[in-house]
Symmetry: C2
Subunit: 211 residues, 2 copies
């Protein structure tokens, strides 16, 4: 099986120095990629800027912005059987990034207009056919309602919901919502252990999709 | 000698997940801290969020935002003989950060108002007395004019100017402007080598200040 995995944050530049981002370390996505390789799958890893080496054997595509990640995913998913969207993609980006460092004004506000970025997971979900797409959700309130809405809107086969407090840490808790199967009991553990649960999920969805 | 060193980026949260930041890795500031310890100085390291261990022997104060870094520096500089401001402090922060993750709108822009953060280096410079303050500048245009203006405005004893392209990398090029001594020839090398040049500078400024 050939699996597309996204990992890490994206960065949305306001100018050459400043950017919008989030605290994703890429740990979860990289652990899923390593587990995929361990099980003999081919892994295509589309990664935002993180400070960690790619697991041996993955095909790594490094990107910076949500727009670059979108383009890489659309291109690379064409040859894949499944996609696991573990990256924390910025959903807003500055509308008019400056091509040089903005001067700091001595006082007074700076007004920045942000535009929504294109939804990678929804785009892959819409064109997936019989392939499997697993989305991720990180919420800090109304967790279940948000994840259920995402599953529908993005046409995912499952949503992995992780807690905001696990971003950048070695352990975490995930809760899985699979289409037509509902919520599973939350699982806590190291990101390596959670990666095994997620690859189990992908394999089970693939055999379901094939059957 | 007791030296305050700042390192890393700061993060200015827009909500619980999204923040403004920059690509500083903290490598330069941590290298200066390690060199300070090696020469027998006491080192107080005020660090933004970075993914590296503090050098053995430093007193580490971890902060996230520019406002937290300001408070820590003002408090800790009271007992120090010199300050080396190697952190890439965000100079703008969202005026009204949300205490929960903002919902993504399906379309339409999000307008964010940013306010200037307080200038840590200028604040320490104004109250430094006979102590030494070394500022940093990272510019991508009009380098010398910007650095010269910073030296005056922030009342620094010297400005270390580094190139934008060296952020997050192991090597770099710095150019030093010292008050009443003008520009020195640029120096390129590993950040460890550049750290030695910068600690030499601090020691020389201190002996000048004492003399």
């Amino acid at each position: 099986m050939r699996i597309l995995i996204t990992a890490g944050p994206t960065r949305e530049h306001l100018d050459t120095v400043r950017f919008l981002s989030n605290s994703s370390s890429g740990r979860m996505g990289y652990a899923i990629a390593a587990e995929g390789i361990r099980r003999g799958h081919q892994v295509v890893l589309v990664s935002g800027p993180v400070d960690r080496p790619a697991p041996r054997g993955v095909l790594l595509e490094s990107v910076t912005s949500a727009a670059e990640m979108f383009d890489a995913c659309v291109r690379l998913f064409a040859d894949c059987d499944a996609a696991v969207m573990a990256a924390a993609v910025c959903d807003y980006a500055p509308a008019r990034p400056a091509d040089r460092k903005l001067e700091k004004k001595t006082d007074g506000p700076l007004i920045v207009e942000l535009h929504p970025t294109r939804d990678i997971c929804a785009h892959l979900g819409a064109g997936k056919g019989h392939r499997v797409v697993v989305g991720f959700a990180m919420e800090d309130h109304d967790h279940h309602a948000h994840a259920e809405a995402k599953l529908q809107r993005k046409r995912c086969d499952a949503i992995v919901m992780n807690d905001r407090t696990s971003a950048g840490r070695d352990e975490g808790t995930i809760e899985i919502l699979a289409a037509r199967r509902g919520w599973r009991t939350p699982v806590s553990g190291s990101k390596d252990a959670l990666a095994r649960v997620i690859v189990d999920l992908v394999e089970s969805l693939m055999s379901g999709a094939a059957g």
